[in-house]
């Protein structure tokens, strides 16, 4: 580490908030993806002003800065591929304001999702996106990756709740976007530009979130299907029913088999299972909605439909879905958890396509996910120390992305592009769109110091980069 830079960073953040120790450098080399690369040092800023001074300094000295929350991202967006300074925002963790009358909460970026949830609970309010990593992930990270979760179908994702931001630009200038008002059409929507920008355009230092009253009643049901087409048709038909379920999750056969092999849940070994939840404020209301959904299940050849009659029964129906990730995480030493997303009418096609890809490459792919918003999680299981396996995984991923795009879908519904999907950006975005994205990046970060090497924004990476999902340093 350059002595002048080190001294300046310590002067800005304090000696307790700076490290170049090996243990920190190793830990900041990774996120939840298979990528890794060493940073030069780590800084824990405490204020927007400190972030501003760090950015101005790094910009002047041409040192990359990688903003980081809890490091739970699955696409490598927090991995410092070009080295540089890790800016860990987790110590900026104050909830600044909760205003029920304005229906908003103002938070620092390091606040953990679950802590906001806990603070809103007593008011009967919540911040709906509910990412699976919510117990650990930070709201800054949720904003930077536009995080979503099981309730996307009804409640949308992070982007639908961000009213305003304070952002430090790569040159150190501090900017406010958006408004605390519920509505605003004042100027370009800069707020949305930063949501999901994966830390490539600015460092978010304050977030104003819209919050919702929390529904107090739910109904839950589980249906099994002996073939995928029926399950897929049921998903589409639910959309026609006029009911928007708060949860509509699907488990594919490979996932069901894996769960049976590794737990004592003893699930029926069918082609697909759909788990539906409706929410509202009275049981009558949620049961009414659920009755409509169950009607759709029956008329689409569901084998067996179970509706929970108590909270405990609902918990039981959720067990298979909730165990999926942990079961699949233990089968092989490595996995890639994709998040391709298609229009809801194509969910069955996507599932069938995934099975074909699995057969073609001779690699295990187990799928579960959010059928209600078309966002599936094919989890490719492989041994990262076996080059043949790694090659198969890479080929299968590439096919998966092509499949999603061919179904008018997208590479990623909620995990982001990062490093993993950067080579596939041009599969989804036409050259003009890529040019506009790169132009925006150059406008805000002309010296390319903020999280470089991500999202195919570096012009020089435009061609010739090969897809890589393998452990970068393995």
């Amino acid at each position: 580490m350059d002595d002048q830079l080190k001294a300046a960073l310590i002067e800005i953040a304090g000696a307790d908030n700076y490290s170049e120790g090996l243990i920190d450098l190793v830990s900041y080399s990774y996120d939840a993806s298979q990528h890794s690369a060493r940073p030069s040092c780590a800084v824990w800023p405490q204020t927007a002003e400190q972030v501003s001074r760090i950015m101005a300094l790094a910009n002047r000295l041409l040192v990359p800065v990688i903003p980081r929350g809890a490091g739970t991202g699955l696409s490598g967006m927090a991995v410092p591929v070009k080295g540089g300074i890790i800016l860990d925002l987790s110590r900026m963790n104050k909830i600044l304001k909760i205003s029920i009358e304005d229906r908003l909460a103002i938070v620092e970026p390091g606040v953990v999702y679950a802590n906001l949830e806990k603070a809103l609970g007593p008011y009967g309010f919540f911040f709906p996106p509910d990412p699976a990593s919510g117990k650990v992930s930070t709201l800054g990270g949720n904003v930077a990756t536009n995080a979503g979760g099981v309730k996307g179908a009804k409640y949308g994702t992070t982007r639908d709740y961000v009213l305003a931001l304070q952002v430090v630009l790569p040159d150190g200038r501090i900017m406010r976007t958006g408004s605390r008002a519920m509505k605003s059409v004042s100027g370009y929507d800069l707020t949305r530009l930063f949501v999901g920008s994966e830390g490539t355009l600015g460092v978010v230092t304050e977030i104003t979130l819209k919050i919702n009253p929390k529904p107090t009643a739910t109904s839950t049901a589980l249906a099994t299907f002996s073939n995928l087409e029926d399950a897929g048709r049921a998903v589409s038909r639910i959309m026609y029913s006029g009911i928007i379920p708060s949860v509509l999750e699907i488990l594919g056969k490979e996932t069901i088999l894996a769960i049976n092999k590794n737990t004592d849940l003893n699930l029926p070994e069918v082609d697909a299972m759909l788990l539906a939840e409706t929410d509202g404020y009275t049981k009558e209301e949620t049961d009414y909605q659920m009755a409509k959904i169950i009607e759709v299940f029956s008329s689409n050849k569901a084998l067996e439909i179970t509706q929970a009659r108590s909270e405990q029964e609902a918990v039981n129906l959720w067990k298979a879905r909730k165990s999926a990730y942990a079961v699949l995480a233990r089968i092989k030493t490595h996995f890639v958890l994709e998040d391709v997303t298609v229009p809801m009418g194509k969910v069955a096609d996507l599932l069938k396509g995934i099975e074909a890809i699995s057969r073609k490459h001779g690699i295990q792919i187990a799928t579960f996910g959010h059928a209600g918003d078309g966002n599936l999680h094919p989890q490719i299981l492989y041994d990262g120390y076996n080059p043949v396996d790694v090659e198969k995984m890479e080929a299968a991923s590439a096919d998966l992305f092509s499949l999603a795009i061919s179904l008018n879908g997208t590479l990623t519904g909620e995990h982001g592009i990062g490093i993993s999907k950067a080579p596939f950006m041009s599969l989804e975005h036409d050259p003009v769109a890529m040019d506009v994205m790169r132009s925006i990046k150059r406008l805000l970060d002309p010296r390319n110091i903020l999280n470089p090497g991500k999202m195919a924004l570096d012009t020089k990476d435009e061609t010739g980069e090969t897809p890589t999902h393998a452990p970068a340093n393995a």
Binding site: D24, S29, A329, N473
Partner: protein, 369 residues
């Protein structure tokens, strides 16, 4: 390639199974107090992975992370990939000791337990004014913290057992030395032998421990297998007391802190609560309880080696007790009592006791009236 260290031979698969999801950050007490991911379970698994990959080597640089774990096991309890982090850490610490990289506090602890009879190198074992090594139905095994640091609490516990007319004896006990297994060394078999011989000579059919860690050692370590072989039961004091009636009540708001060694490590959650509910009409759980309980920060040698962070973990726990408005915090571990009392700020009015000590205080009050 042949594995260089024992941790790799034993745990390679498990370390690779860590999917780096980071969910342990939600529960790791060291992370919670420092917000430094290098100290979290994931950070530790990444260090060991890089050692296995040949990218870094075990050595001094890793001490601050690998030796800073209270072995509270909440990471293991919450790991989607089923990685048993505390066991891996314990083995890695042994490997580090083997190559001469160990935190000086633990080198010192091991030295002490090769020469002395207790972790504090104290010369004289207190007898609490009671005759030791008698014939009795039960042995009461105090443990180092209860003997030398929380002796007042032990005194109260013994008074209570006297009132209950329990036929017990203290023994000329030495450290169970189980803690050495946690900090990179091995349980000292000579000390185990001394304890066993003295327990046997009392003719007791059961050993009651005041310390959850001693309880764990006596029930889980092979050096103490003779207890089981001879049909001698081992009970933690909370298990022993659950069937007694104390004839006292408190109207104060009481909460209970699950010691990691008793709860997550031994699955004892309900007996302590059964007793407390008998004596407290206003019992409240903290935000984290039972298997989700938050560590007091004392375990795994962290109190000795990283005192500042250990206290800050205890403060987080006390904050939870304050948040639920508890006036009395009860626990079943002298080490937890010791750390929580040390961490308590003057402005905090909450009182911290071992359950036995608290009950005895209530009984004393009635006697005085």
């Amino acid at each position: 390639m042949e594995a260089k260290y024992d941790f790799e031979k034993k745990f390679r698969e498990q370390i690779l199974q860590c999917s780096r999801c980071g969910f342990c950050q939600a529960v790791c007490p060291v992370y919670g107090s420092t917000l430094r991911p290098a100290l979290n379970a994931r950070g530790k698994m990444l260090l060991l992975k890089e050692v296995m990959d040949g990218k870094i080597d075990l050595g001094e640089d890793l001490i601050e992370s690998l030796f800073q774990c209270t072995t509270c096991a909440s990471c293991a309890a919450n790991c989607p990939s089923g990685v048993n982090v505390p066991e891996i850490i314990k083995q890695a610490r042994k490997d580090m000791v083997h190559i001469g990289s160990c935190h000086p506090a633990f080198v010192g602890m091991n030295d002490v337990l090769q020469k002395s009879t207790n972790i504090y190198a104290e010369d004289e074992l207190p007898d609490f004014g009671r005759k030791r090594d008698k014939k009795a139905a039960f042995v009461y095994f105090v443990g180092c913290v209860g003997s030398y640091r929380e002796d007042e609490s032990t005194e109260e516990t013994l008074d209570l057992m006297d009132r209950l007319a329990v036929d017990y004896t203290l023994i000329s006990e030495v450290c169970c030395s189980g803690v050495l297994e946690d900090v990179g060394y091995n349980l000292n078999p000579k000390l185990a032998r001394e304890n066993l011989d003295r327990m046997f000579s009392t003719g007791a059919g059961a050993v009651i421990t005041g310390c959850p860690y001693c309880f764990r050692t006596f029930t889980h370590r092979k050096e103490y297998d003779e207890l089981k072989e001879k049909g001698i039961k081992v009970l933690h004091i909370s298990q022993f007391l659950k069937d007694f009636d104390f004839g006292v009540k408190t109207g104060k708001k009481v909460t209970y802190h699950d010691p990691c060694d008793l709860g997550r490590h031994c699955g004892i959650y309900e007996e302590p609560r059964a007793t407390i509910k008998k004596i407290a009409s206003d019992f409240v759980e903290m935000q984290h309880h039972h298997a989700d309980s938050l560590c007091c920060g004392a375990g795994g040698g962290v109190r000795g080696a990283f005192a500042k962070n250990s206290l800050s973990m205890a403060r987080r726990r006390l904050k939870e007790a304050e948040e639920v408005g508890a006036e009395i915090l009860l626990t079943e571990c002298n080490s937890c009592v010791h750390n929580l009392v040390n961490a308590k700020l003057r402005k905090q009015n909450i009182k911290i006791y071992n359950t036995t000590a608290f009950i005895n205080e209530l009984v004393n009050k009635i006697d005085k009236v």
